[in-house]
Symmetry: C2
Subunit: 340 residues, 2 copies
């Protein structure tokens, strides 16, 4: 078992810098496309054998140091009683918005083992196959809420902020249910065998710092407190586009903070250096010519040299157009340059 990733999460010395990529099991891989060609995205998420297969693909192909459960952050929202649809080119859609008391009252806080057995089964199957640690994950409550309130993706998040600002009690009631659901879901993943847990706050970066502190952060803190009572797996919190939120994110209670590519990792070390850090190559930097790509990887590793622990990753998910050979170049460069 290669436990380099887990050691780095805990701030322990490692022989080299571990590396994995957000969305490493995804559309840029012909092997993934082959599986996905026969099923819808939701069918894929619901089928443990297929989830296991696509999760393993990038590990086998590139030698990443961690695997991440193939799923979607919105899967537990289905379990909360909402209709979830994925439309080609438009992303996730919830036909019925959650914007009033009736809709909030109708939200179910599900037992994850009953409503999402396919996730726990996938984790079990993966643990039998993997020789690297398996990361489980969820969305953060604020990020999940935006999809429910906006009926999907959004540009200015008008309805979510309107609810925060004009109906804070309703917002809090919704958030407490989502938080409880997420907390139970992550606990169940740990119990099923996930060896680390990442909380994705993909939309945290649309909040002013004061609003993040009031309307997003406390729910993350609550989940992590709950998790600490039942498991000691490392916890990663990733507040995307969150440079101005970094000091606040440092109070979430996580072991590791994820960084998007806008932040110089050296600055992050000086601000939240008591955490291990994960990131943060611009996913589009994978289109650099090989020599420049390797130089950028090495510079990033140098910038992270004083981190309490560094897990090399992209600053956001890999894009579907990425040539797989470029991924191999990065993984090899990270391993080679960081070997002590």
């Amino acid at each position: 078992m290669n436990d380099t990733f887990l050691k780095a999460c805990r701030g322990e010395k490692t022989d080299y810098t571990p590396v994995w990529f957000m969305r490493q099991a995804g559309r840029y891989l012909p092997d993934y496309q082959a599986v996905r060609g026969n099923v819808t995205f939701l069918e894929l998420c619901h089928t443990p054998e297929l989830c296991t297969e696509v999760t393993l693909q990038p590990i086998d192909i590139f030698g990443f140091d961690a695997a991440i459960l193939f799923s979607d952050i919105l899967i537990p929202m289905e379990a909360m009683g909402l209709d979830l649809e994925f439309h080609e080119g438009r992303g996730p859609v919830f036909p019925d918005p959650v914007r009033d008391r009736r809709a909030v009252d109708a939200l179910i806080v599900p037992d994850p083992r009953e409503t999402m057995p396919f996730v726990m089964e996938t984790i079990g199957l993966l643990r039998k196959e993997l020789r690297v640690p398996l990361i489980g994950f969820s969305g953060a409550p604020f990020t999940l809420a935006t999809y429910l309130v906006e009926c999907g993706s959004s540009k200015v998040f008008l309805e979510t902020k309107k609810m925060m600002y004009r109906a804070p009690e309703l917002y809090d009631a919704m958030m407490r249910k989502i938080t409880r659901c997420t907390s139970l879901y992550l606990q169940a993943q740990a119990k099923a065998g996930a060896q680390a847990l990442q909380i994705f706050d993909s939309w945290a970066g649309i909040l002013a710092p004061g609003d993040f502190r009031r309307f997003a952060l406390p729910y993350v803190q609550s989940i992590i407190r709950d998790l600490r009572e039942v498991t000691d797996v490392p916890i990663i919190y990733f507040a995307n586009n969150g440079a101005t939120l970094l000091d606040l994110s440092g109070t979430a209670g996580a072991d590791v903070l994820g960084l998007d590519w806008r932040v110089n990792i050296r600055d992050a070390v000086s601000r939240v250096g008591d955490h291990a850090l994960q990131g943060n190559l611009d996913p589009i930097a994978l289109f650099l010519p090989e020599k420049e790509l390797v130089a950028r990887v090495e510079r990033l590793l140098d910038d992270a040299a004083d981190a309490r622990g560094h897990i090399f990753n992209l600053g956001h998910g890999i894009v579907p157009q990425t040539p797989p050979d470029q991924v191999r170049i990065v993984v090899e460069a990270v391993h080679r340059y960081s070997t002590r």
Copy 2:
């Protein structure tokens, strides 16, 4: 003539904090909708009398301390020889991408007085009517380039970054032409009577700091150097979503730095306090109930108290759904609370 805005730009003492809003002449105003109902967006931009009318509306209605020329950052791209279309709900579209040597060579560096006389005429008409300063503006070269390369708006800006990374000489040739066009355009606006100039770098925030320094900032610096030789009007540089770029933005040569709402303005004072600062209320905070809205405005003014000069503004353009009465509340609160 109310010159409070100009004094604040120059870091001089003012009787109160001046205020204007990005997109203050826009769709949230019924008066604007009435004008816009009869013409397309591009027809509006091309008609000096109508541009003048909609520019004046928010000044007359709310008592803003500065007017900004009604136009669009992409208007000079038409003058460079490109087809520009605005599609309802989709935003600007350039049918033919600028991605190769042929397309870059075909770009014209236009004489702005010949190709955009309607802009200079609008400035002349406005100066006769206005009792507050008139701000002219342009897009920053990097932001303009993204529209040309991506054929419009984008999510991950793959093609722009690919050109930067894989064809840096072609990218530079394109950027030099856009920069020269922008430089001449802003010079012509100053000559026509614009009393301040704002450079909008709406997409700067998608760049890692190192890429911003290499691929965006030098072209802005070049424009501002050119401007300083022919005019002494204050120059505002707004790098949107640019918290991690702030120190670099401070080297652009501008008098004023615009801030989006993600930044705490107190932090900005500590980092680029030799500049006047403009911003930075979350546009969606305009949906707060009156009491909370006023409290937030006052807190922002307190946070900016040590700035070398503060121009109150939103952190991004006002959204069309905003109730106009909420705008009045903010303008009055700024004036009342900041009066010394």
